[in-house]
Amino acid sequence: MTIDMDRVLLERFAAQDDLGGAPDFADVRRRARRHQHRRLGVPRLGRWNFAPRRRLVVVLLACATSLAAAGAAASLALHWRISALHWGSNAPRHTVIVSTPTAPVTIPALPAEYGDAATRMSVFDSSTPAATLPTAMQAFAPHWLDHGAPYGQLELSRARLLTSQRGWQVYGIPTTHGLVCWAVTNGSSTGGQCLAHLPADAPAHPSVSQDSATAPVIVAGIAADGVKSIDATTNHGTLCSAVVENNGFLCIAAPATKAPGATGLSAITADSVTGFRIWLRNGDELRIEP
């Protein structure tokens, strides 16, 4: 008798299978994002496509996420939560109340070495003049830190105006723990984040924001020394290019833009941005995809 060993082995090995392990690629994506956050110590890609009030919540939650991602090795525990947003008629436009929680949320703190983003941005050297923060920034800046997060203290004397364009400005402020808190503002809308690291494989931190579907898309962020420019890309090509100045960048895209290859005007929203190209001064290119 001739034995068909291929068939026999397939049949008998099949008996060892089980029903465990249903495929779930969404879980794979979540894990990949966590890995990336852990490696970079930063939120993957900030998007503020929210109304200004909600935007602040997003910013603060992004900061919390950033902390959680960066703090895997830390022993310090932090207890806080955002309890409410207050918008009194006489209050500054962006006021957030952070209170002692009744049910504490534990967020791992930054590792002992904290951040090094500030050391990778020469704009914070003493040779660059400090900026006087406008009212909107003065109102906004404390909200990064006043909940006791272990970012260190804002070094307001080292605040810098990184770049500006068409009424929008990007400011950066280092902290005593080496992080850089940055924000983009036009005086009435302000959003920003704190960043621990600008590693070699992610030397820029771009974010996209838009107040409403008919408002311009604002691409802004900070970059380490050696970054020359940033392109925000869509499925149709480059939406806008921003030259890095003083370690900051900013480009403003009109809400209706003729996309490359398109026959007519297309509505451009923050969600149109599918990624970024980072051009380094040595000619290398790095890509960031959402």
Binding site: M1, I3, M5, D6, V8, L9, L10, R12, F13, A15, Q16, D17, D18, G20, G21, P23, D24, F25, D27, V28, R29, R30, R31, A32, R33, R34, H35, Q36, R38, R39, D201, T274, G275, L280, D284, E285, L286, R287, E289
Partner: protein, 176 residues
């Protein structure tokens, strides 16, 4: 260019996951012997591959690269080694002595497999349990396709000799 992450590579990885999930799962199961750990190894391996896809070098197949990562995750899990996201396995020891997750279901085959040399045993598991293509086995084992075929032929001959009495008896009963 420093690092590139072509968007299509993410799609390729997702397609690979969708189409070959059972194969990856079984491969991991043969290492961990535990369904939950096997599932975790597959998820973790794919997450790592997805996040580090820019580091894939086209000197081998994408499929082989991902199998290697999943295998590493499964081996780490079995050894109780905490996983690090840093570094992807350039080469791994593929002769990991795979075991049946449910040896009681087929004690005869279990014993026969355990009697095989390590390399033969590994390749038989890859081929007949994880359903890996021969080319991928060759890539994972760092050998040539012909060597894989020859090794499998030797293993099958050994297994046939050992299992023949039972197989023949079963087939006779089936045809009676």
């Amino acid at each position: 260019m420093m690092t590139q992450r072509p968007p299509e590579r993410a799609s390729q990885i997702e397609c690979l996951y969708t189409e070959r999930y059972r194969s990856f799962y079984r491969l991991a199961l043969s290492v961990t012997g535990d369904s939950e750990a096997a599932r975790d190894a597959v998820q973790e391996g794919f997450a790592r591959a997805l996040g580090r896809r820019g580091e894939f070098r086209a000197d081998g197949s994408l499929e082989g690269w991902v199998y290697r990562i999943v295998l590493r995750c499964a081996l780490d899990s079995r050894r109780g080694v905490s996983r690090s996201e840093n570094g992807l396995p350039e080469q791994i020891d593929v002769a990991w002595m795979p075991e049946f997750p449910y040896p009681d279901r087929d004690p005869e085959l279990t014993d026969a497999m355990r009697a095989l040399p390590r390399r033969q045993r590994t390749m038989v598991f890859m081929r007949y349990f994880a359903d890996l293509p021969l080319a991928t086995i060759a890539e994972l084992c760092g050998t040539r396709l012909g060597t894989v075929s020859a090794t499998l032929a030797q293993a099958k001959a050994t297994l046939a000799a050992r299992l023949a009495p039972t197989i023949e008896r079963t087939e006779r009963e089936t045809h009676r």
